[in-house]
Symmetry: C2
Subunit: 344 residues, 2 copies
DNA sequence: GTATGGTATGGGAGCGCTCTCAGGGAGCGC
DNA sequence: GCGCTCCCTGAGAGCGCTCCCATACCATAC
């Protein structure tokens, strides 16, 4: 069953290459009997169109790139990226598009990967996640006029297509919730401030705190998304018993796991001594004791929407940049100290 | 900066298309001054070769596919696939190859995805993971003469290229370790037996048990890789207190987390009442209390090796099917009840 | 009858590259 | 000085497809 091409199929079915192409691509202008004959030949030869040839002629590859830069090492310890990939693939599968994954597993890879990403004829467009401030990839994409969508909020004001969760609103909600439960010394373990998500969560939290008439009072530490950094940050906050917080908002689930461990290692109780609310809502709830109250963001939906948005950019259906924000919701469990209202 | 092609670069540099091609592809037969001139033009025009055109002409795409079929939903809760992807990308990055990810997120996707995977001109070869017995994908790949490597052990005797961890030997080691610690009623929570990995771990365990002169005595339950199934399986094993095991080998880390929870919920202690050894060695050790003793398999290395093997098949460097097995090693922590010998 | 329009089909051109081959020039040995 | 080889370069063909246009045919309208 050697490779066979359009011409050959045409020959076998007694029609031209063009007609076979029409059948393959579902053009309506083909007579039923011809279509049937051609389809029979295709079936019995096992013919499959050659993707590269098609791409070259049509200037469309049917491939989207998903770029996940920076420390990929730690990446999959966080369920976030897995969920995002799941969302993206669910959309690309539905659109008959294939997904190329660009993971930079080292800083040094960056320079060898970027050319691939922006290479014409490989992908039709790119979804970019976890962009750092001033990411060189972004400007390269713009320069190459490669369509792209950012997952997250772009750091500068320039208009680009992007999809994000409402980090700011969610964090604000968390702060207010803790305040409403009567906590007064509410601390923050912030995600890294070199990411817009981190920045937004921090600012949203401070905003909510202010709205509740509370002050942060120096109870602030910064982590780097990892469990270990959450634990270290909590240890910092607990360092002086006199000024110990009675509640902490932790900027991500994983950091919260570490923070919780620090609380317990210090012989304190969560939520009695220190209430905790985290962000992401992505961990299997039973993974911690008490279970985490968390601001849930719809990660898979963000990924799915990003893929669909990219598709419409590629199709030139939408042309003016838009920033899509998904709402977050507070999932109350035990770590915040309020009676559970929602078991999800 | 509109699209520019080889011909155009040639025109600007005063040479032919062919010469530019040689420069781009690093052919040695180009005079230094011409090379320099061409490279200057390339740099200033921002020229990038068109991947599809190159693929069409050279019959090489520079893309490898990674296929992860079946229940993708639960996929990323298990760090296994993340690690595997990391390993594969580390190799493909080094080889200047791009990775196409094929995730079937529903059974129904399968039929729409397979054609993409075996499509000529899209990928040069495919790495297939988590194959079920009698996977239709495999026969399609063979039929399309698409090079492929299986991660895991192929279920039938036919010769194919594959890379696996020594599931059998690892499980055997686990059984013997527990026996050496003086446990006599050693149970098994087996991975699903519709996977060769599951089968191998189960058989290896039984083998090790027999070598230690022990019998399984009905202390066997089967899970489906999930935490919840591990917990349910352990509950089954604990159902009749009279015949309770004093040790259990759990076929995966995630199931072990569930099993551990079941032990603790039953008011028993691990390792005092029931010692635990699991398989994978992939979870952050601090995630459980006590920390899990586990048979560690080098997942990332398996992925990396699979990608490299695929590359040599594509290059026709290797032609006779081989099955590569990576050794596993027992990482002793607290859950097995022996004094820790290794902190990794 | 001719004019008009829609539909089914074929053929040519071309997408941007690689690969093979031919040819010109330089360098070498005798 | 001639022939040989080796290196560099250019030109042609062709990868398998899509897209556009020309053509042939049929149906309808006047």
């Amino acid at each position: 069953m050697a490779r066979v091409n359009l011409e050959e199929i045409g020959r076998l079915a007694g029609v031209s290459r063009s007609t076979v192409s029409r059948v393959v691509n579902g053009s309506p202008n083909v007579s039923p009997e011809v279509r049937e004959r051609v389809e029979a030949v295709i079936a019995e030869t096992g013919y499959r169109p050659h993707a590269a040839a098609r791409s070259l002629a049509s200037n469309r590859t049917g491939v989207f790139g998903l770029v996940v830069p920076s420390a990929a090492e730690t990446l999959f310890d966080d369920p976030y990226f897995g969920r995002l990939i799941l969302g993206v693939t669910s959309a690309t599968n539905a659109m008959q598009t294939t997904l190329a994954l660009f993971l930079f597993d080292q800083e040094s890879d960056e320079n060898s990967i970027i050319p691939q990403v922006v290479n014409p004829g490989l992908v039709d467009g790119v979804i970019v996640t976890a962009t750092q401030m001033g990411d060189p990839l972004i400007s390269q994409l713009q320069q190459a006029t490669m369509p792209f969508v950012i997952v997250g909020r772009p750091d500068d004001g320039r208009s680009m297509f992007s999809v994000d969760a409402d980090n700011r609103g969610g964090a604000r909600m968390a702060a207010r919730h803790l305040a409403e439960l009567g906590r007064t010394r509410i601390g923050l373990i912030s995600p890294p401030s070199n990411s817009t998500a981190g920045l937004d969560r921090r600012n949203g939290f401070l905003e909510g705190l202010a709205e509740a008439g509370l002050r942060i009072d120096g109870l602030i530490a910064e982590g780097n998304w990892t469990e270990e950094s959450g634990r270290a940050a909590m240890e910092t906050l607990l360092a002086s018993p006199a000024s110990r917080p009675d509640a902490v908002f932790v900027g991500s689930d994983r950091m919260a796991v570490g923070a919780l461990r620090a609380i317990q290692e210090a012989g304190l109780s969560c939520p009695d001594d220190i209430a905790l609310v985290s962000f992401d809502g992505i961990l299997p709830p039973d993974q911690t004791m008490p279970r985490l109250t968390s601001v849930a963001q719809p990660v898979a939906e963000v990924g799915e929407r990003a893929a669909r948005l990219l598709a419409s950019i590629v199709d030139s259906t939408v042309t003016t940049a838009e920033h899509i924000v998904f709402p977050t919701r507070l999932v109350i469990r035990e770590s915040c100290g309020s009676p559970p209202a929602d078991g999800a």
